[in-house]
């Protein structure tokens, strides 16, 4: 079991590291790739060629434009344009592999931040509701009811539609401020359960205050539930961010996301170019699976019943 935890976390960490590292080295859209200017010299190697879409018409201005581009970007002309890339290139010749890896960084960042926000909110509100009961509980339950009456995806889309603003922060806020409901319900239930447990009564008997009982005594006994929920929500939010980016409501155009990769691959498929889809799917599957396995191992390791 311990090995599983280490393995899962190692897998998770490796992918994370990878994402961070590649992210740092990934230059802003350098538009590198197999962009050629005449159909004659286009490589059509099955499976690894970058896609290009001029129609064989020679562009008279191309050499001058290339000069200008070179000067502007300040890159040396020795920076070759590779005819093939490890995992292929996308429509603009960007390295799919690098995109997939960079997407990891985006997803992790957004997923983690949103999950932390949602968990913090859910725990705070859930503890208050579960512990104090009474009108506090009623009010918070009303809030919960309102937010959960609307199916989650619908709510997120509706907010996204209204805000009409892209960017990682927006996504994090949307996901975090709407995703606290699951955690709220669980934490509230846990606090209701623990509130009448004898060790809490005993704490009361020795004079501990309400706040003390809530956060010093009960919280450590509930932390395993919260941690597992955090982990689960990271996964869920990553998947949601992908969907949002796919639909165009997610992170901005200049940030890479698997969602946008998938969006591009929708049309690419029809042309027989499957590698961006494969790359995005593989990267996503790796990260999410690693995280899920990590969550499972976490749950088993923290389960107090096993003690």
């Amino acid at each position: 079991m311990f090995l599983a935890v280490t393995a899962a976390s190692a897998a998770g960490w490796i992918v994370r590291d990878w994402g961070a590292e590649a992210g740092v080295s990934y230059a802003p859209p350098g538009f590198l790739g197999a962009q050629t200017r005449s159909s004659a010299s286009v490589e059509r190697d099955r499976g690894t060629a970058g896609k290009q879409d001029d129609y064989g018409i020679v562009d008279p201005l191309a050499p001058d434009l290339a000069e200008i581009a070179k000067t502007l970007s300040g890159r040396s002309s020795s920076q070759a344009r590779a005819p093939t890339l490890a995992f292929g290139g996308d429509k603009w010749g960007r390295d799919v592999l690098k995109k997939a890896v960079k997407g990891t960084q985006t997803s992790l960042f957004v997923g983690l931040a949103a999950a932390l926000l949602a968990t913090f909110l859910g725990t705070l509100l859930g503890a208050q509701a579960g512990y104090y009961g009474g009108w506090v509980d009623d009010v918070l339950n009303w809030f919960y009811g309102v937010f959960t009456s609307i199916p989650y995806l619908l709510l997120v889309l509706a907010i996204a539609a209204v805000l009409n603003e892209k960017g990682a922060t927006t996504v994090i806020l949307i996901l975090g401020l709407t995703g606290w409901t699951g955690i709220f319900r669980l934490v509230r239930a846990e606090y209701l359960k623990h509130r009448v447990r004898e060790y809490v009564l005993a704490a009361d008997a020795v004079g501990a205050s309400g706040m003390r009982r809530m956060f010093v005594h009960i919280l450590p006994n509930v932390s395993h539930v919260i941690l597992v929920q955090l982990s689960l929500h990271v996964v869920a939010f990553i998947k949601l961010e992908v969907i949002l980016s796919f639909l165009g409501f997610g992170v901005g155009v200049d940030t890479v996301s698997w969602g946008s990769m998938l969006a591009e691959s929708a049309t690419e498929l029809l042309l027989g170019k499957w590698w961006q889809l494969a790359a995005a799917t593989l990267a996503m599957a790796l990260l999410v699976t690693a995280f899920s396995l990590f969550t499972d191992a976490l749950r088993d390791a923290l389960d107090p019943r096993l003690k």
């Binding site: 060790y199 020795v206 004079g207």
Partner: protein, 538 residues
């Protein structure tokens, strides 16, 4: 003529990759036809594992069993699954300790009783339902024609156990195994169930294998007794012989360390005292009427919307003395404990503490002077705190003890006082046994040097031999610190041993209060008499 012969039975449980628990280490005993054999042992003795092995119900994934179990000539250990299935419920039946959870909550008891008949006797739905009604009547359920359609949660504990018994005897088995069938029940109900079992055994010519931890229970019903400890048989023989002159020290200890109504030795003997001669010096108890009263309750009451749990209780607790509170489940005794500890608000009445109205005493001061020990040793300690933290927290909250070092020293002293090693300071509750956890709980209560200690069934969840140790500890502490105790229990013998004055509660009311010798010798209220007569061995 032997119905069941167990020989060389060993059962191992694989706890994890490294540890194996040897629950049963090669035992042998017999159950003669139509006899009643008691299998007695404390927790961890291996008695339940033995029963499950006989039934073939040991969990396949992590247990191994070896040996011989001969039933009517056939070795059950060699029998195939199908054959065992045919035997279970039809020839050998079993009933369990917790009837509420042992019955399927979503099916009616008629369905569940009838199921055995449909399975083994091929009866139709209608016929099995009819037979179920008859069986439910035979086991003493009132109004069986209606109850047959009831679901388990609609019945009381006693009724559920009767339903279980009906299920077990439906196909006229030759052997009935009862695994602690009355442990979870009130003492009055317990007596009824035992009588029922005895009656059924005689009437149906069935053999009974009765498993329990309470040796006094089997005095009445067993022909033969087998005493187990740590997976081995310590002693076995005819019941009469064993009770008259037990040979093994452990058996002697089991018999002696249980407080009885007849005597009140200064200290209860514990297992380690055997074999040895015991001092039979008696401890006197009782009130002279001139003691200082530290707490007085008048008309204390607790009402919920639907019912009144405590109806006007009045009593007085003297300094340095113990007031015993006896009652069965639902009598309201725990509620009184909660109210006195100020963990629940009272609905009515008055409590005077140290001359003042208890509610006028500031919360912190009251909690320092009045402490409580709970029943459940597994629930009253925060599983995420180390023992050291559990003990120093009260001091921290009340600002006692000279800084962290001072508190730590005080905590270590407390551990010493309750006979726990210093190393316990750094450990977590789950590393300790039930008895040890109760000691920690007592130490925690002691940390504030309270004047009144409320003990809510502090030893009920513990084995008999451990009970004796803890009762001795509590008494020593009272002698040393002159604390007053409110000692709550359902166990009459324990209360008589510990208390100077005893109150009996039923349905929220105190029905009788008297000095402890007096109340047991000359009980006045009918309920008190019923309680006393229901005790095993009376």
């Amino acid at each position: 003529m032997s119905l069941l012969q167990v020989g060389g039975l060993a059962v191992d449980f694989r706890v994890d990759a490294e540890t194996t628990l040897h629950a049963v280490r090669g035992i042998g005993f017999e159950v003669p036809e139509q006899s009643s054999v008691a299998l007695v042992g404390e927790s961890g003795s291996g008695k339940s594992a033995t029963a499950l092995a006989i039934m073939g119900l040991l969990p396949r994934e992590n247990s191994t069993a070896s040996g011989r179990i001969l039933y009517a000539g056939r070795d059950l250990m060699q029998a195939g699954r199908k054959e065992m299935r045919g035997l279970r419920g039809a020839q050998i039946s079993m009933i369990f300790q917790e009837p509420m959870s042992s019955l399927n909550p979503v099916f009616s008891i008629g369905f569940q009783v009838g199921e055995v008949l449909r399975e083994h006797r091929g009866l139709s739905r209608a016929a099995s339902r009819q037979r179920a009604i008859e069986l439910l009547g035979e086991v003493g359920l009132s109004d069986p024609a209606t109850k047959v359609d009831a679901h388990p949660f609609q019945l009381s504990g006693g009724e559920q156990q009767r339903a279980m018994i009906a299920m077990a005897i439906a196909c006229e088995p030759r052997l009935l195994i009862a695994d602690e069938p009355t442990t979870a029940l009130d003492v009055t109900v317990q007596k009824q169930i035992l009588e029922l079992l005895a009656r059924l055994k005689a009437g149906r010519r069935m053999a009974l294998l009765f498993i329990t931890h309470d040796l006094s229970l089997v005095r009445e019903i067993a022909d033969h007794v087998v005493v187990m400890r740590d997976g081995e048989i310590r002693e076995q023989g005819a019941a009469a012989d064993l009770f008259r002159s037990p040979q093994d020290p452990y058996t002697q200890a089991l018999l002696a360390c249980r407080p009885t109504l007849a005597q009140r030795p200064r200290r209860l003997p514990v297992v380690e005292d055997f074999p040895a001669s015991l001092s039979t010096q008696e401890r006197t108890r009782g009130l002279t009427g001139e003691e200082e009263i530290i707490l007085e309750a008048r008309g204390l009451a607790k009402r919920y919307e639907t019912k009144s749990v405590v109806k006007g209780a009045s009593f007085r607790i003297a300094r340095g003395k113990t007031l015993g509170l006896v009652g069965e489940s639902g009598s309201g005794k725990t509620t009184i404990a909660m109210m006195l500890a100020r963990l629940q608000p009272a609905s009515g009445g008055e409590v005077r503490f140290g001359g003042r109205d208890a509610l006028d005493v500031p919360r912190m001061e009251y909690k320092r002077r009045v402490q409580i020990v709970f029943q459940n040793p597994y629930g009253s300690l925060n599983p995420r705190f180390t023992v050291g933290r559990i003990l120093t927290e009260p001091m921290l909250i009340h600002d006692l003890g000279a800084g962290e070092a001072g508190r730590r020293a005080a905590a270590l002293e407390l551990l010493r006082r309750v006979a726990l090693p210093e190393s316990a300071f750094f450990k977590y509750p789950h590393e300790f046994s039930g008895g040890q956890r109760q000691r920690i709980a007592i130490a925690r209560a002691l940390a504030l040097r309270p004047e009144l200690l409320i003990c809510d069934e502090p030893v009920s969840a513990l084995d008999v031999s451990i009970q004796a140790q803890l009762l001795n500890l509590l008494q020593d502490l009272q002698d040393e610190y002159r604390m007053s105790y409110l000692f709550i229990s359902h166990d009459l013998a324990v209360v008589k041993y510990m208390a100077d004055e005893v109150m009996v509660m039923k349905d929220g009311e105190i029905v009788e209060t008297a000095g402890s010798d007096e109340i047991y010798a000359r009980p006045r209220h009918p309920y008190t008499k019923l309680l006393l007569s229901s005790m095993p061995g009376q």
